[in-house]
């Protein structure tokens, strides 16, 4: 079983995000990027599958700042092969372009199963999984939380609203969009990551020229207006608690 996990880096939402001078894009000068958390689940799911029934796990990431750490962390967790897609990411690359480039790399890897996060918070031209699937000519199923592999197919649990689950059969090769891994993504000690940095090999493959068609230009980007914002209660824990008790009384809860 040849498993390829595709990970993407996204702006860390804990940091303040601002719009740049053009008014149509994020200001990237101070932007901190972290692994898309659904992709973290996809890595975990790939490693769980390998531990259960063998195979090889390759983790593939675009070569942007922070990618090395993410790949070495994946190696410390049990990934076998680390691969970066290198290219000019400076002026922003949309998911259509990224998926086209990644699909040429994945074709060479002869993947049986491609796992990636079901979505990322900056998917403005659609999530990457189904784009990859179509460019690869593979089947796609998203919102997967749990799967088992048989001969030439997987049985996947797809999540619906309200806790309903659809059990679906998917013929291999296929791309699955992971909503949650069967177990929470494992913790690895920094020492193990450091060890991986010494021993694991980072391979790199150059992306062909970006083909961004399929995305549309942004006319204006802005921070949502403050019109519908919460009334922030000032003061310390004591002051806030006093006011909240009043509010709870007004709301008829107390």
């Amino acid at each position: 079983m040849n498993i390829v996990v595709v990970v993407k880096l996204v702006p860390d939402l804990v940091e303040e995000l601002t719009v740049d001078a053009s008014g149509t894009a994020l200001d990237t000068s101070w932007l901190r990027r972290i692994i898309n958390e659904f992709d973290d689940h996809a890595v975990e799911q790939g490693i769980l599958l390998k531990e259960r029934s063998g195979g090889q796990v390759t983790v593939l990431a675009p070569d942007v700042e922070g990618a090395d750490d993410i790949l070495f962390t994946a190696a410390a967790k049990g990934a076998d092969r680390l691969l970066k897609l290198s290219g000019d990411f400076g002026s922003g690359v949309n998911n259509h372009a990224l998926a086209r480039a990644l699909s040429t790399t994945i074709k060479d890897l002869k993947a049986d199963l491609v796992l990636t996060g079901v979505q990322a918070h900056d998917d403005s031209d659609g999530p990457i999984g189904p784009l990859l699937a179509e460019f690869l000519g593979m089947a796609y199923l998203g919102y997967v939380a749990g799967l088992s592999v048989q001969e030439a197919k997987v049985t996947a649990r797809k999540e619906y609203p309200g806790g309903l689950v659809a059990e679906m059969e998917v013929d291999l090769p296929a791309v699955l969009g992971i909503q949650a891994s069967e177990k929470p993504p494992r913790y690895v000690a920094v020492s193990k990551v450091r060890q991986a940095m010494q021993t694991a090999k980072l391979e790199s493959q150059a992306a062909p020229a970006w083909d961004m068609s399929g995305g549309l230009p942004v006319a204006r980007m802005f921070q949502p207006e403050a019109a519908s914002r919460a009334t922030l209660i000032e003061g310390d824990a004591e002051a806030v608690s006093s006011r909240l008790v009043e509010i709870l009384k007004e709301a008829g809860v107390l």
Binding site: D122, A139, Y140, A219, M221, V240, L248, L254
Partner: protein
């Protein structure tokens, strides 16, 4: 190209999903400006009755046994053929467990653009989309070709997409649907939890900010003082700290309590969409820019670990006095 705006209706187990009506409402905004009509696309089997409440100028209905319940490839084939034949101004799909499996594939297959996470249509006809977990919004114009748009809830109410009289239903022949590589085996109904959070009137919700399992006790104590129940956003359930029956969000429960008290929840769109029917939302988060504050009525940026013990004591005091 036609100026009509098409909407891919979503239904599961004989129930039309609310997002379908939200999309019909959004489609009306686009169609009015384009000078076209709103057309609902219903794919099902012996399901034409599902169209009754739709506020659409007409319904195109594809009936096939393979369309009884959603599977990605059947929907992709029907919609790809339809766009090829009709070239509508736009096709709207849900940014949901159904629509997201289809939209990107259609975009790649047909070479037409896709705009994701549209919330509303601006007065001048642009798509207003949400990105970065709701911290940033953007405006995008429809392309010259058919544009695919995925729609998130929150911009319009489902009621606005319902009509007084049933629309005209036109049946069309479905394409060949053999050899599908993704097949539905069965549905697994959710296990009944210890409590049904969709019926609780006071909910204390915890998110990533609770940091570790042991800290849940703080929320439990507060909930107990309020006579309520603890629920959670996705990261807490993914860690296995609370069962999925306590999950509020896109793949969990929708809730409508009198009080929703969110502790350490950032307010990702997948969470927020399920709690907007709450009467009073109070949010506690140290990040003043957290999107949860745009749905909450009241908020505090005091650290929840400082606030919650004091608040719990005050509430106990208020109840005994």
């Amino acid at each position: 190209m036609s100026q009509d705006v098409y909407v891919a209706i979503e239904h599961v187990q004989g129930q039309v999903a609310d997002i379908s009506y939200v999309m019909l409402r959004a489609a009306r905004e686009l169609a009015t400006r384009a000078g076209g009509g709103v057309v609902a696309i219903l794919m099902g089997h012996q399901a034409s009755g599902l169209a009754e409440a739709m506020a659409a100028d007409r319904v195109i209905y594809f009936d096939h046994p393979a369309l009884k319940e959603f599977t990605p490839e059947a929907y992709q084939r029907v919609l790809a053929g339809l766009i090829h034949d009709d070239s509508p101004r736009a096709l709207l799909l849900g940014n949901t467990t159904i629509g997201s499996d289809v939209a990107s594939v259609l975009s790649a297959r047909l070479g037409i653009p896709l705009v994701s996470s549209c919330r509303t249509v601006s007065p001048d006809g642009k798509l207003v989309v949400q990105t970065c977990g709701g911290k940033i919004m953007a405006e995008v114009e429809l392309a010259a070709t058919t544009t695919l748009v995925t729609v998130i809830p929150g911009g319009y109410s489902p009621e606005e997409g319902k009509g007084a009289k049933a629309p005209e239903v036109v049946t069309r022949q479905a394409p060949a649907l053999e050899g599908l590589r993704v097949r539905l085996s069965k549905y697994i109904e959710p296990e009944a939890g210890d409590v049904d959070i969709s019926k609780e009137s006071v909910l204390v919700a915890v998110g990533r900010g609770i940091q570790q399992e042991g800290n849940l006790e703080l929320a439990e104590e507060l909930a107990k003082a309020l006579g309520g129940t603890v629920c959670a956003s996705r990261p807490v359930v993914d860690q296995g700290w609370l069962p999925v029956s306590r999950l509020v969000g896109k793949s969990g429960k929708r809730v409508n309590p009198k009080l929703y008290l969110a502790l350490g929840i950032s307010g990702a769109p997948e969470h927020v969409e399920a709690l907007t029917d709450s009467e009073t939302i109070i949010a506690v988060n140290t990040d003043p820019a957290a999107p949860i504050f745009s749905v909450a009525k009241y908020g505090s940026t005091v650290d929840l670990f400082e606030l919650v013990p004091v608040l719990t004591e005050r509430i106990r005091g208020a109840k005994t006095s």
